[in-house]
């Protein structure tokens, strides 16, 4: 009994001690299902809202009027406005990239545009990618964006739920990681450009609903993927590889039946780690700043279902340990990003969504 008491006291001290390491403050609230955030060079922020609005946070305040001139967005199910990233030369060219669901209920697709931000308005808009073919389900769009060091653009495209078999076929964009140039053309060194039976934009395949994409400081490409019931995956991405869905998976279907009885197969990549039960990962960043020295080099995975953020301590390409953080918020976390100030920023997934800043306690 005394031992149990000591353990409880230890856990209490550890928990309270840890909670004192950071504080969480609200930057802005009143957002509707915020999905992604981009930090502008002048300290302002752009936040996408899934219902199809791009909002500006300027001087710590949410501008009432959304950014004008967004293209038509299909809003339904999981569809809407998704990710935003800035061009590497944004300071000089004001160019940004947006992903969203386009089309309608019976024919929709993940789409990416390039545009310039000019006085709270998008101008010079060009569609640079539209997933093909379209689908009639409002689920599993993927929609994350990232720039590689060679300035090509990565786009995740989900398998559309009812189209999961197509994730293993190369003649479509379902369940694929796409790599294109910033003008929408196909890089000549994409892995399937020489195959007649494959779409040339495909970089990797065998994915489900990839809502976390990250190019780390050392150039490693990380992707996390929603599993069905269980089987969320963290993958180390290598061009041309097959990541297995739905041929192999650590999860089962929502119905309780197998999607596949197999968890590994020749020619298919294994995840670096996986989560059973599902945490529903969405949003991803690598912490590179010095504000939280203990977190440097860690990966942070936002989790919707678990209402948390997972801190992954990495070493030699593997997850050495994990910590479940920010559960005290009891909020579905859609996105986690490192700000230019070295603080961590969280987006909460609700119709009263918030941008939260995690700062050191002292």
């Amino acid at each position: 009994m005394k031992t149990i008491g000591r353990v409880c006291l230890f856990l209490f001290l550890v928990n309270t001690g840890y909670a004192a390491d950071y504080t969480i403050e609200t930057v802005v609230d009143g957002l509707s299902y915020p999905w992604a955030i981009a930090f502008l060079p002048d300290g302002d922020m752009l936040v996408t809202e899934r219902p199809g609005r791009l909002r500006l946070i300027s001087g710590g305040k949410l501008r009432v009027q959304p950014i004008d001139n967004l293209p038509d967005v299909f809003v339904g199910g999981q569809g809407g406005l998704f990710d935003i990233i800035l061009d590497s030369d944004f300071a000089s060219n004001q160019r940004l990239y947006l992903s969203f669901a386009s089309g309608a209920k019976d024919a929709n697709a993940t789409q990416v545009i390039s545009a310039r931000l000019e006085q709270n308005k998008l101008v010079d808009i060009t569609t640079i990618f539209t997933a093909s073919p379209s689908k009639d389900t409002p689920h599993h769009f993927g929609g994350r964006l990232a720039l590689l060091p060679d300035q090509t653009l990565l786009v995740t495209v989900g398998e559309g739920f009812d189209y999961r078999k197509k994730a293993q076929l190369l003649d479509n964009h379902f369940g694929k990681l796409i790599r294109i140039n910033k003008d929408g053309t196909v890089p000549e060194d994409n892995p399937f450009v020489d195959r007649d039976d494959a779409l040339p934009e495909i970089w990797t395949y065998g994915h489900r609903n990839q809502q976390g994409l990250l190019v780390s400081a050392d150039g490693t490409v990380w992707l996390h993927d929603h599993g069905p019931r269980g089987g969320d995956e963290l993958n180390n991405i290598k061009p041309g590889k097959n990541y297995g869905w739905p041929a192999i998976t650590y999860g089962v279907d929502y119905s309780g039946a197998y999607v596949s009885p197999y968890t590994e197969a020749d020619g298919m990549e294994q995840p670096v780690t996986y989560w059973v039960p599902s945490i529903a990962p969405s949003g991803f960043c690598e912490y590179t700043a010095n504000v939280f020295p203990d977190w440097k080099g860690n990966l942070f995975v936002a989790a919707l279902a678990e209402r948390s953020v997972r801190r992954l301590v990495m070493g030699n390409g593997a997850v050495l340990s994990q910590e479940t953080m920010f559960t005290e918020l009891n909020q579905r976390i859609r996105e986690v990003r490192e700000g230019p100030d070295g603080h961590l920023y969280l987006l909460t997934d609700s119709d009263e969504g918030q941008v939260l800043r995690v700062s050191p306690a002292n």
């Binding site: 409002p138 041929a247 279907d253 119905s255 309780g256 009885p261 197999y262 197969a265």
Partner: protein, 146 residues
Amino acid sequence: MKFTKSILAFIAAVAVAYLLISIMGTQFVLADVETYGLVVSLTDRLAATLHDIYGLVPVLLILVSTTFFIAFIIASICKQFIGGQRRYWFLVAGFVSLPVTMKLVKLAMGVTPFAMAGTAFGLLLIALSGLAGSWVYVRLSQVQEN
């Protein structure tokens, strides 16, 4: 006695339809798995089939039970107000109700609840499973009819 017989007939009907859909659903999924280049052994096939019979209980069993409950009530009402042979109303109810339920779920949620229901052939097999279930119900509850 008649009521008890009717209840037992209903349970048997649900069990037959559930088992058929579950077993065929697993074979559908395994056929897909083989198209990805994996070889499914007989042992794996049997294990997967048993896994799904157990795994589908919380969703499919409830779906089949609820669907048959409503469909059989409608069949009884039709028999009472329109006439005709009772068995035909129940067989039609069994054949039609489960595919309709699958489509209603798709309409409500936007996605197909079972992979098998995503194809016309799969829907036909689900309909035939419902037909088999309702046939069992008609047979076992015959005394009540007479």
